[in-house]
Symmetry: D3
Subunit: 157 residues, 6 copies
């Protein structure tokens, strides 16, 4: 009934225990989504750096190279963008004012992580890609600590 619906609704937002990855709130979030994207950014960064550059006079080799490099840059871009989105969802939707006591540097942690995603797009930098992985791991640890759960950090690649 009406009063039950209203009290239920109020319990959702801005209740401290609400976490959403889709603004439902559906109660499902997992930093592994951001981790997968960050792993791809690192992988593509390495692959771009490993490509041999053929001579432009060798047409077939040049086409293969340009097709491959172009795709790698685009995939790096897309994965860095997705990593940024996943990271920001955690900041805007999961973390709440109650978490600021335990993590007074919460905003700065997320700001830096998002800016690292941009750096990985703008540059082909192994350093930034590794820093991004570390930033995501830091967020992974903070996240699971707030839920009092011990979920291992692992990489798929």
């Amino acid at each position: 009934m009406l009063s039950k619906a209203i009290s239920t609704l109020k319990a959702w937002f801005p209740a401290p225990a609400v976490h959403a990855h889709c603004d439902g709130p559906c109660g499902v979030y997992d930093p592994s989504a951001a981790r997968i994207n960050a792993e791809a950014v690192l992988s593509m960064t390495k692959k771009i750096m490993d490509l041999e550059i053929p001579a432009t006079s060798d047409k077939a080799a040049w086409i293969t190279y340009e097709n491959t490099l172009s795709r790698y840059v685009a995939i790096k871009e897309e994965q860095a963008q997705k990593a940024k989105e996943e990271i920001l969802i955690l900041w805007t939707d999961y973390f709440k004012p109650v978490h600021l006591d335990k993590y007074p540097d919460l905003h700065d942690t997320f700001w830096k992580a998002a800016k690292l995603c941009s750096a990985c797009k703008v540059e082909v930098s192994l350093q930034h890609a590794q820093e991004l992985m570390e930033a995501v791991q830091k967020i992974h640890n903070m996240f699971w600590a707030t839920k009092d759960r011990d979920v291992s950090w692992y990489t798929a690649s």
Copy 2:
């Protein structure tokens, strides 16, 4: 040089060890992506079933109810679609003919999992949502077995 580029390229596709989640191949895949989406489908399914239906004569309550229900259905739809996409990427890009020896029912496993995603859209069914979680877990086990790694199955919600 050209010959090195070509042999490198040939090693990628259709080499048995190539796995991609973005057709790079970037070498990063993790069934946890599909698992997160499936968890959200289950969560939204439960939330839809738990909503109290107010009287249409109570305008404020009715608007709240319709806004909430409408959003829940849309999020369930979106998450079921994403789960389907993640599942299919594994089938088309990760699994290779060499895997058919160990998993002769590979195609049927994935076909059924994808059809379960559709069922979760078309219906509000706790049974199908749970079957989808089981299908994703089966795929998780197959996937990590092919990589000789023991990665725990866990849920974020």
Copy 3:
């Protein structure tokens, strides 16, 4: 040449004057994008509240009502999501550490604005929709002040 390319690249990031709305950096940003989306959220919120609820026994009227309401909720959702994205691009890509002196509450301003976007999705609330417009206006003022420009705040609707 290499040194010129490197010094040019370093000048872009994290140089204080870099602003991007597409991680180019392309140097183009304008809070009016977020403003348009916020106006639409407010507009749809009002329209949802104004709809008359017909009797379910009147099939034709009921279908019209459900089609309209469903679409309004979906458009409100989409526009609130776009507003959130536009707001976050400003936070992650435009604003830099140098701005924290003048705006020590920068992070909190953006955090609250993003959470208002979520509130406008989850609820049908004139209050939150208006608060969102005010949050965007506050960001508009901060933004143009950092650029030493006086660009009027206006609404299109």
Copy 4:
């Protein structure tokens, strides 16, 4: 009730005063959205033209160059596409037959503007990028004139 719902619905479409940017109709439109995208097209066009081309023998410089150029072309593409979409929304959803008296060349204006977006994709042309800005400004003036409002034309970059 039914008759009120129907007369309300009829008032929306194709009433001469209906304007939408999201087919709500939500009543919110602003050519500044198209203007921001067009500014980015111009900005990226200039940036592409300004890049120094290193020697392919300098691997690090070449990777930086290709990453940067590839991204610039992709951003130019994306922004030109968005500009086209925003321009077309105005043509299909905002402008109505009643406007043809005042603007007999309405269709041609929009047709040319859309084709300019394509030209900016297909070429790296400062001329076309500037013509696109002029086309958007022309549309800005027509738009606000139909609403009897004087909204300044300004650029964010």
Copy 5:
């Protein structure tokens, strides 16, 4: 070489024979894409009208009904939007000034077709959905006539 590249480039745009569905120009276009979307709009419109409305007191039936109706409206919306996009690509990218002699009402034909897409979103109207099919068929005939080809009009449903 340079002169060859330039003459090739000039031959593409605004050459009268250039047609693109992706601004490549890739030279591939087919109104059947728009036709498939329009068929789906018609199909969903009929399905919405055929749904029986249960009593709100029957919770299970009500949830099924709302899930189904909500999805149908969303799919109708998505398909009408895609139809609009496919129609507009033909107008902006395929048709050229040379076609205006044979089709002086070209702009109006496309304007009306796009506005029909909006009407099909805003209303649940069998009439508009059928008019949209007729508009697409008219465009199909114009298109293939300009290519001097006789491609049958058929429907998939």
Copy 6:
């Protein structure tokens, strides 16, 4: 009423005659969507191979070349991805267990077709692009045979 709604719902899924291209089920599907995308992949593949490679010392020619090549690779990528999606929708949503009697190699046909889409992305291969067209034609024939209809295979380019 309830029983009618339930029997109608059960008739949709998993009834053998249900076919959807949007999980409605809307009953509209047509392999021509996949065919259009595959044609574009072939067209872009040819265009990439036909581009002349200018000297890097000729800046204007080099910019034109890189802009064009970059766009062609991106469009090939996008169209190959869309072809893959359209192909998979047929496999997951249209084809049912009842079809396995007539087409025991159904899964393998679709698996290979999807992997060809990936090959067309990863390589610039006329052979793979033509094989993809053949794979789509095979699917076209299977599809219309299951519907007892004779719909001609034609290409738009």
